[in-house]
């Protein structure tokens, strides 16, 4: 029966690996990953849970500059050269499904993706 046990063990291990991969994939999807995009192009995505405190500068003088701050699981636009400053006034964002931070003049969007949010959309 030793061989059969081994075969079963191999099969079980395979199933277990699939399970773990599926779970990891799930939790990654449900996590708090901030996606920064400009002109509809993804610039970078940051896992807010694990990312160190940092500032990220997106854009240039021509397309407009936004300085983004990441801190303790949340993200915001710290500074921007746009006229209306709506993106800065938006403040911190930390939940998936929440209202994205948008800088219309600079075509910048910060969105938190995943299934981890408590709401499907925010009206306002």
């Amino acid at each position: 029966m030793k061989g059969k046990a081994k075969w079963v063990a191999v099969a079980l291990a395979a199933v277990l690996v699939i399970c773990i991969v599926a779970l990891v994939f799930q939790s990654a999807k449900g996590g708090t990953v901030a996606e920064i995009s400009k002109d509809g192009q993804l610039v970078c995505s940051i896992d807010l849970k694990t990312a160190p405190e940092q500032t990220i500068t997106v854009g240039d003088a021509e397309s407009g500059i936004n300085i983004i701050e990441v801190q303790k699981g949340r993200i915001r636009v710290l500074q921007a050269d746009c006229k209306n400053q709506n993106c800065v006034e938006c403040g911190w964002s930390d939940e998936a499904g929440g209202r994205p931070i948008v800088c219309l003049p600079n075509r910048l969007v910060i969105k938190i993706t995943g299934e981890g949010g408590r709401v499907d959309a925010v009206s306002g």
């Binding site: 061989g3 099969a11 079980l12 509809g40 209202r99 969007v109 299934e115 009206s123 306002g124």
Partner: protein, 393 residues
């Protein structure tokens, strides 16, 4: 002696194919135990049939177990509804159309409907019909554009002018159309307010062609997103989409319930910016539209001036409200009413709700307390202080 050859479950079955030689223990010559014969490994059992049954049972158990595990894994994957989002800029805002368990193409098709409405209705794009109308030309509208325009005139009338799409010259004076903010003088506003008159504009519209009286300008900003949501939802439904969330710059439209059959959760943005949202509505198959002073404003000499203008005075509407959310079936109505009720204030707004009906409202007062109309009871959650307004009373 009776010999049967069956499927191998021998010790080295993984290494090389071997036959399980099952010998009925009928001959006293054959002792139970292992044997090798001409390179074939086998076992002689005392009760071969019992052994075979047991092995089969075990094999069956393992198969069931693996099948169950496989189901679990696929079940886990199935739990996360497959959703795809079309994300784009239109009507001066970010828009998301998310479809669940449906082809993303449906979302793209809805997007192109919104985009073409945007091209027609934008007050700033020089090639739009609205732009042409605002320069005094006879502007021709498409079927959709014309439908929105006549709907908008009706809504202006219905709200008693609390919503007035001809308020644009006043908006321009405040700089809300260019982000170059300024506080206009009293006499300047008094002059401009004279030209705010939706009924005169409505008279100059023949159902397709709009020729505005001189000096008059329209802005469909308070209704265009709502109307776009209606057309986009219509297109999604026609494509067979059963679950979708449209977020057209804070105007939320919902198709069906979520994929589990439960209502969607829609947050109502915190107008004071302390948290993401102050209330959550559990709703399905409807629109949730919010208007608030926080959306566009500027400060000068310690005063805050926002973009929701009282058409009567030309001044930002100050009625003790920070935001108004409307929940209802028609996107264009919700959009129009959220602005109109903000201008009316809580008391007049509730009176309007009692008279007109067909929608529910949520008022956030300047002090952060909330008033909901009775139809929202049961689908509303909030940690703020709140009360219910009833139809009678």
């Amino acid at each position: 002696m009776h010999i049967r050859i069956g499927f191998a479950y021998t010790s080295n079955c993984l290494k090389k194919p071997a036959f399980f030689i099952e010998l009925a223990h009928t001959s006293p010559l054959l002792e139970p135990g292992r044997f090798t014969f001409s390179g074939i490994d086998g076992i002689i059992y005392e009760n071969p049939q019992k052994e075979v049954n047991e092995v089969r049972k075990k094999a069956l158990k393992i198969t069931y177990f693996l099948a169950a595990l496989a189901l679990c894994v696929t079940g886990l994957c199935a739990c996360a509804p497959k959703s795809e989002t079309a994300s784009f800029f239109a009507m001066n805002t970010l828009m998301d159309i998310t479809v669940y368990g449906a082809d993303i193409q449906a979302a793209y098709d809805a997007q192109s409907i919104v985009n073409s409405l945007d091209r027609e209705l934008s007050a700033t794009s020089e090639s739009s019909a609205v732009y042409a109308a605002n320069t005094g030309e006879a502007a021709r509208f498409t079927e959709n554009g014309a439908e929105l325009l006549s709907r908008a005139f009706d809504l202006c009338k219905e709200t008693g002018g609390a919503l007035d799409i001809t308020v644009r010259p006043v908006m321009e004076a405040w700089g809300f159309t260019t982000d170059e903010y300024r506080v206009p003088g009293e006499s300047e506003l008094a002059e401009l307010v004279k030209k705010v008159d939706f009924s005169a504009a409505a008279e100059s519209f023949d159902g397709a062609l709009l020729t505005l009286p001189e000096g008059m300008k329209i802005d469909l900003g308070a209704v265009a997103k709502g109307y776009a949501a209606d057309r986009a939802v219509e297109s999604l439904r026609a494509a067979g989409v059963e679950h979708a969330v449209l977020n057209l710059g804070g105007n939320v439209a919902l198709v069906g319930a979520n994929t589990k059959g439960e209502p969607w959760k829609v947050g109502v943005k915190d107008p004071f910016g302390k948290s993401s949202y102050v209330a959550v509505l559990s709703v399905a198959d409807c629109n949730v539209v919010t208007s608030g002073g926080y959306e566009r404003y500027f400060e000068e000499n310690g005063m805050t001036y926002w973009h929701i203008i009282d058409p009567e005075t030309g001044m930002p509407a100050r009625t003790g409200l920070a935001a108004v959310t409307i929940v209802g079936e028609s996107g264009v109505e919700c959009d129009a009413f959220s602005t109109a009720l903000f201008v009316m204030g809580e008391e007049k707004g509730l009176e309007f709700w009692r008279q007109i009906g067909g929608f529910e409202a949520l008022f956030i007062r300047d002090d952060g307390t909330i008033v909901i109309t009775e139809g929202l009871q049961g689908s509303f959650e909030s940690s703020s202080d709140w009360e219910v307004a009833h139809r009678e009373g």
